[in-house]
Each structure stands twice: as C-alpha cells, then as structure tokens.
C-alpha cells in the first residue's frame, strides 16, 4: 500500500540552506540512521537471546540420560564412512595448497569438510564477485 505523508516543516530545506539549517539537517539524518540501525541491533539482540536460550535447552535435553537407553541392547556403531576428505593424500594436497596460497604465513588447518555440490553455481557467483576486487 502506498502512502504520501505530508512533509513536516523540519524537513523543508531551502535550495541553498544556511549553515545552521544545514547542520540541523545533518544531525537529523545521522539520528535517523542511528535509530534505524540501533533498533535493528536491539531486535537482533532479543532474537539472538531467544535463540541461544532455545539452543541451550535443546542441548541440555539431549545430554540428559535417557532411562530406556540402558534397557535396549545397543547396536554396534557403524564405522565412519570413508570420504575423499579423510584420505591422507588428499589432506596432504590441501595442506600444500593452503601453504602456497598463504605464501608461507603461519597457519593451522582445523577442519576439512566436503563441498556441497548443489551450491556450486551459487558459489561461483560469489567467487567471481569477491575475485573482482583487488585489495593489494
């Protein structure tokens, strides 16, 4: 729904405003920007607190001992599926590539996770955008 509010006098700026009006106009603008982003900050903090609380509850219930668990014979755990990423040769290649890319800077590889093939084209878009900007 479109609406056309009447413009308040405070915002009615002359084509060539004097210094006082200009400063007032700028202050109002900054206040508007801070109010907008500050309100989003507040809402995000509330939202984040609610989500963190929910996550803690889920975590607590998941770690509570289940009474029926001792009664059921447990099935032997399936061995972790071997993936390409766990192959020591692949890990060696990845480590070498990281070393070369970082030009010998100190680094530590903490995780190697497989790519999600369905997102390849989307990733390509992001890669192209990121690669198009030269920063050094």
């Amino acid at each position: 729904m479109a609406f056309s509010p009447a413009r308040p006098a405070l915002l009615a700026l002359a084509e060539y405003p004097n210094l006082g009006d200009s400063i007032l106009f700028q202050l109002n603008g900054l206040i508007v920007v801070f109010i907008a982003l500050g309100s989003i900050w507040g809402l995000l903090e509330l939202m984040g607190a609610a989500f963190r609380l929910a996550a803690r509850r889920r975590h607590a219930s998941a770690h509570r001992p289940h009474p029926a668990a001792h009664e059921r014979p447990s099935a032997p755990a399936a061995p972790a599926a071997a993936t390409d990423a766990t192959d020591p040769r692949v890990l060696a290649v990845i480590a070498a590539a990281v070393h070369l890319t970082l030009r010998g800077q100190p680094h530590r590889i903490t995780a190697v996770t497989p790519e999600q093939p369905t997102l390849d084209w989307a990733r390509e878009g992001r890669r192209a955008i990121f690669a198009s900007h030269k920063t050094h």
Partner: protein, 418 residues
Amino acid sequence: MIQGLLDFFQTTGFAQITWQMLVMWAVAGVLIYLAVAKGFEPLLLVPIAFGALVANLPTRGVITVEQRANGVTDSAIFRIEGHAVPARQDAPAAAAMAGETPQVLQVNRVEGGLFDFISQGVKLELFPPLIFLGVGALTDFGPLIAMPRTLLLGAAAQLGLFFTFMGANLLGFTAKQSASIGIIGGADGPTAIFLTNKLAPEILGAVAVAAYTYMSLVPLIQPPIMRALTTHHERRIRMKSLRKVSRTEKLLFALVVMIVCVLLVPDASALIVMLMLGNFLRECAVTERLVKSAQNEIINVLTIFLGVTVGLTMRAQNFLAPETLKIILLGVVAFGISTAGGVIVAKIMNLLSPHNPVNPLIGSAGVSAVPMAARVSHNEGQRADPNNYLLMHAMGPNVAGVIGTAVAAGYFLSALGH
C-alpha cells in the same frame, strides 16, 4: 568531384569531432586503463568507460540527445508518434462523469536508439533495486546477526555523507545536488545512482564515476586513515569467534530489517525490499533456481546495462565542467570521513565495553563497498598480526553499511525528494 567528396565528408563522424570529445576519449581511456590494467572495479568501470566513449562519439541510432532551452542536455529520449482516438464504451467512468470525451492514444510509431530504451532502466529507477536483489542474494548477514553491535559501525560510517552535504552546500551546490554528492561517501554505487537520479539527474555521470572510482580505490584511500587513527596495540586486538547463526534467525533478520527500515524511511523501500527479498530467497533454501539467477544472470546483465547507461550520461557538455572536479574532490572527502567515522566509533565502543573489545580496523568496513572494505580491514589487521583473521568480523559492519546507506538515502529522499 572534390565538392562531392567534401559534401560526403560533412556527413561522416569526422566532421563532428570536437576537442571536448577528444578529452572525454582520454577520460574513458584512463578508466579503461584503471579497470583492465590495474583491476580496479573492472565489472563496473569497463561498461562505464565504454558508455562514456560511445557518448562522445558522433553515433547515430544509439542514443538520442537534445539540448533544452535552458542549456541542459537531455539524453535517452524516445519519441512516440500517435493520434488520439475516441475511447471505447468501457472507458474509465470518472472521465465520462466529468463531462470529458474520453480518448486514448493510438501509437503508430516508437522511435529511439538502443540505449534510449535501455537507459530507461536508470531513468525509471529499475536497475539499482534489481541489482540490490542480486546483492541480497550474494550477501551472508550471518556475521552481522552474530555480532549485531557492529550495526553501529555501519551507522557511524554514514558520517561522511552528512558532513559532505554541508561541504557541497558551501561550494555552491543545491541541497539536492549536495545530498547526491554526499551519498558517494556511502560507497554504494546502486544507492548513489538511485538517489542522484531522483534528486539531481544532471550530475549523475560525475557522481557515479566518482562513487565507483573511489570504491575501486578503497585499498588506497582507507589504510592511511585507519593507521593514523589507531595504535599498533589496537590493530592487534583479537576478537571473539562468532557464534553460529541458524537459518531461522537469518530468515527473521531479513523480515525484521525490511519492516523496520520501510516503516522508518518509506522512501528507501525499493532498495531495502529488493535487498531483503534477495537475501530471503538465499536463506530460505527452497528457491535455489531463483537464487542462482539473482546471484549470477540478473546481477551480471543489469551491471552491464547500468554501467553503460551511466557512462552514456558522461557527455562532454555535461562532464567537462568545474562542478565535476568539485564533485570528485568532495567524493574523496566523503569517503575519508566515513572511514574515520567507523574507526572512531569502534574506539568509543571499546571505551564503553573494554571486556569485549572490537578491533577498530573493522570500523572502516562500515562504508558499504562489499566485500572490499572488509578485506582491507582484514589485510590491515594481518599487517599488525599475521595470525589475526578479521575478515568475518569486518563483514558485519560491511553489510550494515549497505543498510545504513540505504536508510540515509531514504532520509535524503524524504526530506528533499518531494
């Protein structure tokens, strides 16, 4: 025979070349050099430079240019030839009730060049919001949601916009032109084009070129300011790891930001709505085909059209004026103050919250040149401490800057655009 050849020469483009055109060819050449040889914002500077070159060639059938009575050059005009015919019986009842004979225009011919039509995407303000759709689809707001206080850095980096508004005013620009020049400090090309087209279309070419040139020069402009305003100790501050943000949070974020911003500055609706639509499509994970299109085909096609269209506004008659030089100078001032604003507010935040400090270098990323400003913060941080990884932390203020610039543009439009 010689007279015939001379007459023919008069019909060629050579006879219409002026020295101003030659200067603009050199300007286009510099832009192409910066884009191709130096890699500065090539995705935008190449189409802009090409458009600028075309605008200063004696072309035919590409774009229509007319000189108005007041001396202003208007471009991208297409003509519709037709005649009025009586409307049918089902014509609008309001006109019939008012006693007027309802008529409709029957179009016989539409005349215009290729870019007369493509340029309507800028004139009708279609391209910038549609590019924002792609930007939203490409942006991960996770770092911002995980550390929402960096929204303040995005707000602080709008300081340059408002400060430059005053500077431009003092240099003789009108309030509308000053707002359009100030928005360069936001380092957000589509927003700058959107606002300037509404408020001061006569300086669109200069504003767009200044905005995109400075965006490409972020790695050169920002580091000296960042180093001057921070100590070595501050640049080495390591920030806490960001928490993982769930998909539901990201979906809610898109809706919350859209609602808050539209309620506060309805004039920025087109930009904010499309930005958040693109982001919602991305995060909902059930519209993969749409996201792929927004992230690649839509944004790429529109970038070509937007760049060439902006370049076409750089005709010598408009561009070679003292005002252009002033706009370019004011643009760098806006950029510098925005950078400083972000860094200074980050330092203030550290004074207020010493137990959970932010690295002040991420404040400069509040200008919304995504992701380059964030990468500059990261690189500067690594100069002081090679093991400090600031990139994801800097992405928070960086994407907050996009929202902040759109809100600032909405404020300017609310105040000056009616």
